[in-house]
């Protein structure tokens, strides 16, 4: 089920009413409703893959208990290995199997060996598998590291793993944050509901007005690279920067807002990333739940920065390389991750102080955009072709034909509104605010105008969220 589908607007009130009105006095019942709601939400896409979530839930539930009950650390470690093998195995099979087989065959071809490609399988990538496997994995690791006590409440744990607002595209929640909330009685408040709805409205604006509008131009250029030139690639890449931000941050806001109306707080996932003055700062503002996951479960276990400098730089690079691969089974993502790793290494070598100022913001924005070329391109060949064309053949700027021209104008308008709002939030926090205005009617009219804009210039094609594919 998509957030931007009509069925979600039928589904959400039903779960909401069941959750608060019917089962408000019974925590267990509330969690059962959350669980049923979450499985319905996911099963709407493909019910067959519910078995994977259920399996991941069961494995980590029992692994958690076994690790706690283990007589010594080495037995605990063996149980942790079960969780790691199972979750990474799921991910490896469904997401990376074909990629590694094809890459192996391609690499043999480089040495003149031709291998008949009979090993690849027709595997459908289950939506959200990268997210919920990481979530369950972190649960077992945290128990092993004695940062968390396992729960014996299976329903609550299953509701935590499958919690529908963040099941398919995050934020990747830590058990230490979400699980205690699910185990505790929630209280219905007007403030929480109002705040949640506000986040959802702005999230829908980011998705339907900013991202889906920008996507029209981006797709027209990136899906047809032979017919475009440098200036069009630059425009499309900048628009893609806003498309992916609108898409993913929009999704995160809708997820956080939806959780909020159920009385649950999810972690912030984006904090105006394009105002970052360095790439390292960018990664503290972009997809925060994933960045911190990699920091805690990959970078720090590798030694983090408490090792010799070359090893530290290697740790940085390898963390981003894995992060790139996490995003997709394609070399474009690996290169994108590596590029970000290289940026961070250069920053670590060249700059001692924290960078600030508008020029650094623009430089960072440029670097991030350069990396987005690999993220968005349909193949590595396309990405290199785009980069080469940008530098060798600026040419004419494609402005679209027919309705595409108006789509580009709407996209520009929507991005201008987004940038204006984010600039206000970033630099003028204490100035006039609509969302927190003392006058109730200013707040209500403000959000009604946002809904009007969604209805008036939004794209209503029920398009997928980009991060569903990861």
């Amino acid at each position: 089920m998509l957030f931007n589908s009509l069925v979600f607007f039928v589904f959400l009130p039903i779960v909401f009413v069941g959750y608060w009105l019917v089962s408000n006095k019974n925590l267990k019942l509330q969690n059962i409703i959350l669980l049923i709601g979450s499985y319905t939400f996911y099963g709407w896409w493909d019910y067959r893959f519910l078995s994977l979530i259920a399996a991941s839930t069961i494995v980590d539930y029992f692994v958690g208990l076994r690790i706690e009950g283990a007589k010594n650390k080495s037995i605990g470690k063996k149980w942790l290995l079960v969780s790691i093998l199972f979750n990474i195995g799921l991910l490896g099979f469904f997401k990376y199997y074909n990629f590694f087989v094809e890459s192996w065959i391609d690499s043999l071809a480089l040495f003149g060996y031709t291998v008949n490609n009979a090993w690849t399988l027709k595997v459908i990538l289950p939506v959200g598998i990268s997210f919920y496997t990481f979530q369950t994995l972190s649960y077992s690791i945290d128990i092993y590291k004695e940062k968390l006590k396992p729960t014996r409440d299976f329903i609550a744990f299953a509701a935590f793993v499958s919690f529908f607002p963040q099941l398919v595209a995050g934020p990747i929640e830590r058990a230490s944050n979400l699980l205690p909330q699910i185990l505790t009685k929630r209280k219905f408040t007007y403030q929480a509901l109002s705040y949640g709805i506000k986040l959802m409205i702005w999230g829908f604006f980011m998705k339907l007005v900013v991202a889906d509008r920008a996507a029209i131009y981006v797709n027209a250029v990136y899906n047809n690279v032979e017919n475009h030139e440098g200036l069009s690639f630059i425009a499309a890449t900048v628009l893609f920067a806003f498309q992916i931000y609108g898409d993913f941050a929009g999704y995160s806001l809708i997820a956080i807002g939806t959780a909020k109306i159920f009385g649950l707080d999810l972690m912030t996932n984006f904090r105006r990333p394009y105002f970052a003055a360095s790439v390292s700062e960018f990664w503290t503002r972009w997809h925060i739940s994933l960045s911190t996951w990699f920091k805690d479960y990959v970078y720090i276990p590798l030694g983090g920065n408490r090792v010799a400098k070359p090893r530290w730089l290697f740790n940085l690079f390898i963390t981003f390389l894995i992060s790139g691969l996490w995003h997709g089974a394609n070399w474009t993502f690996v290169i994108w991750g590596a590029l970000n790793g290289i940026y961070l290494i250069i920053e670590a070598l060249l700059f001692k102080k924290t960078r600030k100022g508008l020029i650094n913001v623009f430089v960072t924005f440029f670097l991030i955009n350069f990396a987005w070329i690999f993220f968005r391109a349909n193949s590595t060949e396309n990405a290199f072709y785009i980069i080469k064309t940008i530098f060798t053949s600026p040419g004419r700027l494609y402005i679209g034909s027919g309705d595409d021209i108006t789509a580009s104008i709407y996209a520009t308008l929507a991005i201008a509104i987004l940038v204006l709002v984010e600039t206000k939030k970033e630099y003028f926090t204490t100035q006039f605010s609509i969302s927190n205005n003392r006058i109730e009617y200013v707040r209500l009219v403000g959000y009604a105008v946002v809904i009007f804009m969604i209805l008036y210039i939004g794209v209503f094609g029920e398009s997928q969220f980009i991060y569903f594919q990861f």
Binding site: L444, F452, Y456
Partner: protein, 313 residues
């Protein structure tokens, strides 16, 4: 305590919904006014066809219809009034709905539907572009609901909002207000002439192909309905295929063959200009390999007018 919270939420919701409806009504009504007051552009043309036009001959079809049929030529040769209701990028679902709306008010003597070879093939954009019909929904609910429901659920709920009815139309309206788009009774000529070198560079596989080669049952139904509606309103119907610069082998094109079969079964005349010697490789008559320029369109329209004249005599 909880009940108090529920009551508060209820009251705030009511307040918010009222404000939202007022804003939607005010801005949505203004937007509809702007929409229906357009003088030029694709929306102005469709509004004219739906609410005002009363021609003897009405042309339907995609950009090929819009760019190939010159009403003035028909009027001079046949002494009948004509309007070109061709709409760029639109396919059978749209034309079927447009025909129904027209028939509610007037019945032309003759309808010409320019058919594209891919009209029956599955095409997502054909559904997406049905949004061009949204502004007319309030006045033509029974005609439009069946076709809009093919693309979206809860049509009545969505189109309850006035702002959604004119979604994404304002830039178009402003653009043609500031720079009017000239048309001649719905026909917009193309003036460029092709050169041999243009053809070589455009001979590649179309990267923007908007369909997949599988028959869409809804399109077949729309095609049949288009014929049935014309018949039930005693309107003569002719199908025409437009010429192309290059020779194209359509013998295995399932979509075109099916349309031909249906036309034959329903005894609807089909004038087939695909691979017509009169136009093939005549670069001076084409703007691009599948669109005639004004000279080509003049010749093409005159040929059809001649055919109709001969048929009626």
């Amino acid at each position: 305590m909880i009940k108090k919270e529920y009551k508060l939420v209820f009251m705030k919701c009511i307040k918010f919904v009222i404000i939202l409806l007022i804003i939607d009504f005010v801005f949505g009504s203004i937007s509809k006014q702007v929409f229906f007051n357009q003088k030029t552009g694709k929306y102005a043309r469709s509004t004219h066809v739906i609410y005002e036009a009363n021609p003897d001959i009405l042309i339907f079809g995609s950009s090929h219809a819009h760019r190939h049929y010159i009403p003035k030529v028909f009027e001079e040769k046949l002494q009948k009034t004509c309007y070109n209701a061709g709409a760029e990028g639109q396919q059978l679902l749209y034309h079927n709905a447009l025909q129904k709306m027209v028939f509610k008010r007037v019945t032309p003597k003759l309808i010409i539907l320019n058919i594209d070879e891919n009209f029956l093939y599955k095409s997502k954009v054909a559904y997406d572009r049905l949004s061009d019909l949204h502004p007319y929904y309030e006045d033509y609910k029974s005609e439009l609901r069946p076709v809009l429901e093919l693309n979206s659920k809860l049509v009545d709920f969505k189109l309850f909002f006035k702002s959604y009815q004119t979604n994404s139309t304002i830039i178009h309206a402003l653009r043609y207000y500031l720079s009017p788009q000239v048309d001649y009774k719905g026909y917009r000529p193309l003036f460029d002439k092709m050169k041999f070198s243009d053809n070589v560079s455009s001979n590649k596989e179309d990267p923007d192909k908007e369909y997949i080669e599988e028959i869409d049952d809804n399109f077949v139904m729309a095609f049949k309905e288009f014929i049935a509606n014309a018949k039930s309103n005693n309107v003569d119907l002719i199908f025409v295929t437009s010429p192309t610069l290059n020779k194209v082998d359509f013998s295995t094109n399932e979509s075109l063959n099916m349309m031909k079969e249906i036309a034959e079964m329903e005894k609807v005349t089909l004038i087939d200009f695909f691979n017509s010697e009169q136009f093939m490789h005549k670069y001076e008559l084409f703007h691009d390999p599948s669109h005639l320029n004004n000279d080509g369109s003049t010749l093409f329209t005159a040929s059809i007018a001649e055919f109709i004249k001969n048929q009626t005599n």
